[in-house]
Symmetry: D2
Subunit: 358 residues, 4 copies
């Protein structure tokens, strides 16, 4: 904490809180906000007793926190946070997010929630997917789904942003243009996805123990992963008539990669029109995203290395053997979590959307 | 070479040659044969000038080669090999395999070819896939495709065994029972595969440079990989009426994993019959493989760790969201190459198929 | 368990027990013994309630256990084990090893203990290093330290073999010849070691969580690791006059590598004689180990890849900048644990020392 | 290149050139400068014919280069560079750096050279270490060694900064305070270092091929690495009387880690004074670096994860078993190369030293 930097003390920056900073999305938020020109972290809140020092939790943050008043986490106290901060990033378990959100909103603090608590518009769907009661169903209508590229206007004016899941972000960005344009058959979609281990969180588990996950690769949650209904919801909401025509859920099969970060999704769909070719698929994607600062439509298939530690999503589409194949890549902790959270916060605070993210 | 072991000198073992031992399949063969109770390596042949010493090429082989007459590679000389060996493992580039095979067969030596030279029955298909002329098309009818579980009787009596590709081995073993039983629609097959880097060989390349492949994941050869026609050929030959009805090629999309060895294939197909369920899929697989020593039908999805450095293939099938999903795992260098080569050699030499492989 | 193999049923094999087979050394033992020509596992014992099935614990063992009566672990029952087995491998925590060893010895079963329980001859030293009471100090004189190359005769006739620690094995093999020959100053020894994560066991811990250990490297237990007194003891016992002259303990600094298995030790010492050169160092090592089946004195520095999944230890020595530098490599789970355990068991059972290990 | 960002066009930023941007230090420089508030890249120069597009070379740079006039590299033309840029970062091979530096300096452009060309003050020492003639020995006196923390005043006024080697940066920062204070014996220093593979550059080589470097660890250049004389030079120049008393070179033994980036050095030395303890060592380090923005003296041993992708160097010292043990960690591409290069450029351009680096 001894390394000084004037920037954190700058009184003209917008103060925000990071609640639950001891997980990987919290760490990533602190890293991003530490370079943000107009936002500063004023409050780090943890439910742990005693509250941790974040630079002891993550020694690499020592220099990032230079200038932060104390570097110590404080308890999660909505009243205190409301006095000092205009916006809160919640990096909490789903249940805890539902618990704290109403109190923060009631005190006029904007909330970007990185959990799944407010992503699904229907609490019954939520409860099936997550296996516990939704204790703030009344708050769902107030929330906006923060897939920025597709909900930008709603995000701009909202108080409660439900930051999307990592897998759904890539799937929706890759599929929505083609679905809206009627180029693919909505009933044929298969999303074969692979994620780095950071997506599974920071708590040690047997299958994430280094000698188990290392040099290994496996499918999990085949067709029953809880991100599947989230993907289906977005495709229906923003997929136009074809999305609305989506019957059940598309098939989503995630895999665990032996690496820290990154999601690559290889997506298959049947063409909805005869003679669909690669050019038409790519043109559709490029038209949709040509002005988007964080989406790059690539002429070749992207790799994880192309997007790691950036807020970018790279996507490529083609038609081969009579099938549309899309490959989308993002960093699960950035565009798939904390980067997109800052993208949304920028909009909610009236800042340039790209602020601190390029 | 100073570590002595009587086993290599045992005169009652069957002498074989490994031609092209300086790549990863060659190394794996030497490791397997070093523990084989009834086969011994008598001849190591390399096209390199000067010929390498294999224990300098791979220091880990020092103790495996104990007792081998010299440990030095000799030139590829069909006449000399024929004098000393009953069977040859060819671990050469495709073109070199075509060049040496006829001479070896003419001298009465059995050949297990680990290249793709004799895998495709039609030389025109071969030439399209591999981009060069097939210089021994006359030899194709003599070859037997060495997917042991499905061509066992043919392999037993053959002189020239075309050892299958790594990806086609897993795809065919997973799909053939369901295809023959008419449980899946042959036109709907999508094979999403991922392989460790050893599958790409031992020659350094920019995309296989450690800092590029490490912490990375990518799709490549999307729908145009040369293993695709090999998979199609096997499904047609052994898939029964449904295999024969296969139109074009199934869609095959390989990916590169940041690990040394292992192939995991996640295979999607539409059910061909209404009401197909997981039980029926698993029963079909179990019936097909219950007596197979190297195929395990798992009730859960296998991971790479379950099969690495074994000659086993683990497979699991299920029906989710109206689709059949198969997950198959193998070691690309063992069941996908050198292990299956020994499995075939065992049959060709009249030995127990599992000899040296359990 | 359905894969059949006659070998496990062979009645002329020596039956042994593996007690505590659910950790990494247990898994490695089962893999090695599954290929052993004259030993068979008759009893798998676990303290867990309910007792696990080992093929569910490690799906990769399905084929290795073919023929094992049930594949199920049984409780740790010394009486039952004594009826069926001649020798027991204990892969238990230190305290549990002390608890079960006396009962097994009393029933005439030989014991190879892979824990540290019987490694240190002095119980007070043990208690300082391990932080708990030694509950079988009376058993210590009966034990033989199983660094096979240096205690071969003692091991051959013993009933209780204390299998060495992974780090001490490499350090002692590298240092003893030079120390005995008086080539290095015993007070100057620095052992800089690095191990793969499997050495830390199978229980998940925060620092061994994949996203923490991956792409990371760190020193730990600097100068206070409990293998340090074990190294010192061996150097004193077998280091000749120079070992006996060793004052305090040599400095031992282990590091954690982002890989599964392997130990590399880079060892520094001051020459004890003027004009010592690389030739003299290498000659000393070669003379000591020329007849050893599992030690290779290399002319270049070994890497982990050269020894992984073998029972070999590769070592190289040189003199540079006025210092002796030794590099020793081994697989921590094989020569550093289960491989050496089988090497010792072979001797204790009157078998060829290399049986099942080459 | 289509993603727009006004920042690159900002006319009030200082224009610089990156020469040789297609290696890892070039990529890292572009990433750092892309976030720098007061410097902009105006010129990307490559010796390749045809000149590459940097966003094709590194697809991840697409968004970083937004606003850069073309994204295309231009030839290395000192005259053109001098017209447009005030400072040049040279990321070239040593020989090429010597070739271009005089022409750039002659035209009034400041140079930060990331090669070793100007690091060693004595051309004979350089030629012994690097094995080729120094073609600009006349330029050596003009250069300043850019270990910022120890040569800050010289760097501030210089035109030619020789950016230090990655290993020497960590070694010198860890050792200099103790050496100057006379706490350690200069003749006893052993630097046991380990680096990620990115330190070996971007050209594929057999030992850096993924399946060779992965899961591997090895020592190389034992006592003969060319960074050894660079370390010795710095210790002599800035180590006070004790540095001046340094006889030959300290022993430096690097190792290759299976990870992308990071250097960890575990450094051993004999205390020069009786009774030296950990507190005295840590106090000395803290006193030396308490005001340094990029050096953190830690109370525990740092890991690579603590410093990766930062310009920080973390160091910890202690006394154990009668020896001083220092552990220093840095990112070899940031503090060990491009980050320190920007730190030096900031000083040379009259900017705050930390600009763009926190």
């Amino acid at each position: 904490m001894s390394k000084s930097s004037a920037s954190w003390r700058s009184s003209d920056r917008i103060p925000v809180a990071v609640v639950g900073p001891t997980g990987y999305t919290g760490l990533e938020l602190i890293e991003i906000l530490g370079r943000h020109p107009t936002i500063r972290i004023d409050y780090l809140a943890s439910a742990r007793v005693p509250t941790p020092r974040i630079d002891q939790e993550f020694p690499r943050l020592a220099h990032r926190l230079a200038g932060h008043p104390t570097g110590e986490c404080e308890p999660i106290d909505a009243a205190k946070i409301a006095v000092r901060c205009r916006l809160v990033f919640l990096c909490l378990p789903h249940e805890a997010a539902m618990e704290h959100t109403p109190a923060l909103l009631a005190r006029g603090v904007k909330v970007v929630d990185l959990s799944a608590a407010y992503r699904l518009r229907d609490s019954a769907t939520y409860e099936r997917a997550y296996g516990h009661t939704h204790t703030d169903a009344a708050g769902l209508p107030r929330s906006v789904y923060g897939l920025t590229e597709w909900f930008r206007d709603e995000v701009r004016g909202c108080d409660l942003c439900a930051n999307p899941g990592c897998y759904p972000t890539a799937a929706a960005i890759a599929l929505l243009p083609l679905l809206r344009a009627g180029l693919i058959d909505p009933s044929s979609i298969i999303i074969n996805a692979a994620s780095g281990v950071s997506g599974a969180g920071r708590a040690p588990k047997p299958n994430l123990h280094y000698p188990e996950a290392n040099e290994n690769f496996s499918a999990y949650g085949i067709g029953v992963h809880r991100h599947q209904p989230e993907i289906a919801q977005t495709l229906r909401l923003k997929g136009g008539d074809f999305g609305a025509a989506l019957g059940g859920e598309p098939l989503f099969v995630p895999h665990l990669l032996p690496l820290e970060r990154g999601i690559l999704e290889t997506i298959y769909a049947a063409p909805a029109t005869a003679g669909l070719d690669t050019l038409a698929v790519q043109s559709c994607l490029k038209a949709a995203y040509e002005r988007e600062p964080f989406v790059v439509v690539r002429d070749d298939a992207p790799t994880l290395r192309d997007v790691q530690r950036t807020n970018m999503l790279h996507v490529n589409g083609r038609v081969v053997n009579g099938r549309v194949v899309l490959v989308a890549a993002e960093d699960n902790l950035v565009k798939g979590a904390s980067g997109q959270a800052v993208q949304n916060a920028n909009l909610m605070l009236g800042l340039d959307e790209t602020c601190g993210l390029l």
